[in-house]
């Protein structure tokens, strides 16, 4: 246990960086994912096709490969910000199609009859969108979005293997120094991850219960 307490500053530093990765790439992925989802459901066929191809390609590429591209090939192509930024780019790109899919299935999950009913009682396009469709879609979208964020939290650990000093990287460094206390150190790292993921999971469960649409 003393190996954990001695190195607590390292762990906290790693925790801070993990949170940073989570927050910034989470926001980035939400923005990019919303754009992709917008393209995906747009009336224009070529936008839809582009978004579909993007989603399929990125979703089927391993995160390790995406981060490898960011960590080694982008600098090779003479674009070299610090590794933290590169990892942010990689995580954002990798997460965005999952966000897009969650949003799209939320919007498409609203039955067509709802929109038809809204239109037939005389609401305009904007009104039916903002009073009828979006309130239902947003409720359905939040729990899967939080699940995407939980997955993102776990995925930040892969960035730790590409020179970013976050929780996993911190754990690895401490393990290298203190080979005698491997279990305690890794359990501490696990504990920090669980702080984030279980909190998010609880929020998702609560939101799900609170805003569930009765059908």
């Amino acid at each position: 246990m003393d190996a954990v307490f001695e190195n607590l500053p390292l762990f906290l530093e790693g925790f801070k960086n993990t949170l940073g990765l989570l927050i910034f790439s989470g926001i980035g992925a939400l923005v990019l994912g919303t754009i992709v989802a917008g393209l995906r459901i747009s009336p224009i066929a070529s936008f839809r096709a582009f978004a579909t191809v993007y989603t399929e390609i990125v979703r089927n590429t391993p995160l390790t490969l995406v981060l490898f591209f960011c960590a080694f090939l982008l600098p090779y192509l003479q674009f070299s910000p610090p590794f933290f930024v590169l990892a942010l780019i990689g995580l954002t790109v990798y997460t965005s199609p999952f966000v897009a899919e969650a949003l799209r299935s939320g919007i498409n999950g609203v039955p067509v009859g709802q929109a038809e009913a809204a239109r037939s009682v005389g609401l305009t396009f904007g009104q039916s969108l903002s009073y009828v469709i979006m309130p239902q879609a947003v409720r359905m979208v939040i729990p899967p979005l939080i699940n995407v964020l939980i997955a993102l939290t776990k995925n930040t650990s892969v960035a730790g293997a590409f020179f970013v000093f976050e929780l996993f990287g911190a754990g690895r460094r401490v393990v290298n120094d203190r080979g005698d206390a491997v279990i305690a150190i890794l359990a501490a790292v696990a504990f920090f991850y669980l702080i984030i993921t279980i909190t998010l999971g609880q929020i998702a469960a609560r939101v799900e219960k609170k805003v569930a649409v009765l059908r």
């Binding site: 459901i41 009336p43 224009i44 066929a45 070529s46 936008f47 839809r48 582009f50 399929e56 390609i57 089927n60 590429t61 391993p62 995160l63 390790t64 490969l65 490898f68 591209f69 080694f72 090939l73 090779y76 192509l77 003479q78 899919e101 799209r104 299935s105 919007i107 498409n108 999950g109 609203v110 039955p111 067509v112 709802q114 929109a115 396009f125 969108l129 469709i133 359905m140 939980i150 939290t153 776990k154 995925n155 930040t156 650990s157 892969v158 730790g160 293997a161 996993f168 754990g171 393990v175 491997v182 279990i183 890794l186 790292v189 696990a190 991850y193 669980l194 993921t197 279980i198 999971g201």
Partner: protein
């Protein structure tokens, strides 16, 4: 395509969207061409040395060497070996988890729930490292067991959801005809739950296949490590990008075919299969979980 968001377009809107479509395609192609040309242009680095462009023949000549393809093939095999064994184990663990989670006794149910929650909140990479260091199994078994446990937990939850979504009458009927509770679960509930959740399970197996690349980090020589580390180390860094593209293409081919298979199964045995669907050609709204089944999915059924 009709959607919740907008009405079916009339002739004028269709014409307009066709025009925008064409403009969009042209724009995208232009951007893509520019990107490809920009990547192909020779670059001068800071010290004045000029690197050849990325599509230059000197960057691709290694691929005439049979040995290169042989090692890439070995990498693919290593990846598939890890994914295959982990997938089988994950299915077994998933079944066990789903049974533990739906067990009648609290003494089994609650510990299983805690273990599941713990495993699902944990990065796979951390589990791989833990198994590698604590049990010193070697990188192959560390990867296999971590992937099996993690994906087993998720498959287990999917199966549990499948079992719980069955009508209560299924279980009652099984018990009423005199099957034991265990036998009811195995013969009546489980086959239905498995069939219903098959698309999700296969989607999870795609995740498993992708995650084998994490074993790269603990030094297992699978496709990613062979392709972007071992081979460029041997032949020189100027081939890095070429190797990267080839590895990417192989991964995409493997994962896309598995995803396609998942969709095929989803169409045949998903929640909607077997039910009569609306006869109108208008696509039904996507079911929340079966992303992408959409328009094609409603045409199946009887």
């Amino acid at each position: 395509m009709s959607s919740v968001l907008y009405d079916a377009p009339g002739p004028r809107a269709r014409a307009r969207s066709r025009v925008i479509s064409v403009v969009g395609i042209v724009l995208l192609l232009a951007i893509l061409t520019w990107l490809i040309l920009a990547m192909g242009a020779p670059k001068a680095s800071a010290n004045g040395a000029v690197q050849p462009g990325l599509w230059d023949a000197t960057r691709w000549d290694v691929f005439t060497d049979v040995q290169v393809w042989r090692s890439i093939g070995g990498g693919v095999l290593a990846t598939l070996k890890m994914a295959g064994v982990a997938a089988v184990l994950a299915l077994i663990i998933g079944v066990l988890f789903s049974f533990g989670r739906t067990a009648a006794h609290k003494a089994i149910r609650i510990p299983t729930a805690i273990i599941l929650e713990f495993v699902r909140g944990m990065p796979v990479l951390l589990m791989i490292l833990f198994i590698l260091l604590v049990f010193s199994t070697g990188s192959y078994w560390a990867g296999v067991s971590a992937l099996a446990i993690y994906n087993g937990a998720i498959i287990g939850e999917a199966l549990r959801a499948g079992i719980q979504s069955l009508p209560r009458g299924q279980r009652e009927a099984g018990l009423a005809i005199g099957l034991t509770p265990l036998s009811t679960r195995f013969r009546i509930e489980f086959p239905q739950a498995f069939r219903q959740m098959l698309p999700i399970i296969i989607a999870q197996l795609v995740v498993l296949l992708k995650d084998t690349s994490l074993a790269f980090i603990v030094g297992y020589s699978e496709l990613l490590r062979v392709g972007v580390k071992n081979l460029p180390d041997f032949f020189g860094n100027r081939y890095l990008f070429s190797f990267f593209l080839v590895v990417l293409a192989i991964y995409l081919a493997m994962n896309l075919s598995l995803s396609w298979f998942a969709r095929f199964i989803a169409r045949r045995s998903g929640p909607k299969a077997g039910k009569l669907v609306a006869p109108a050609p208008e696509p039904m709204p996507d079911a929340p979980l079966s992303a992408g089944v959409g328009a094609g999915g409603s045409a199946s059924g009887l």
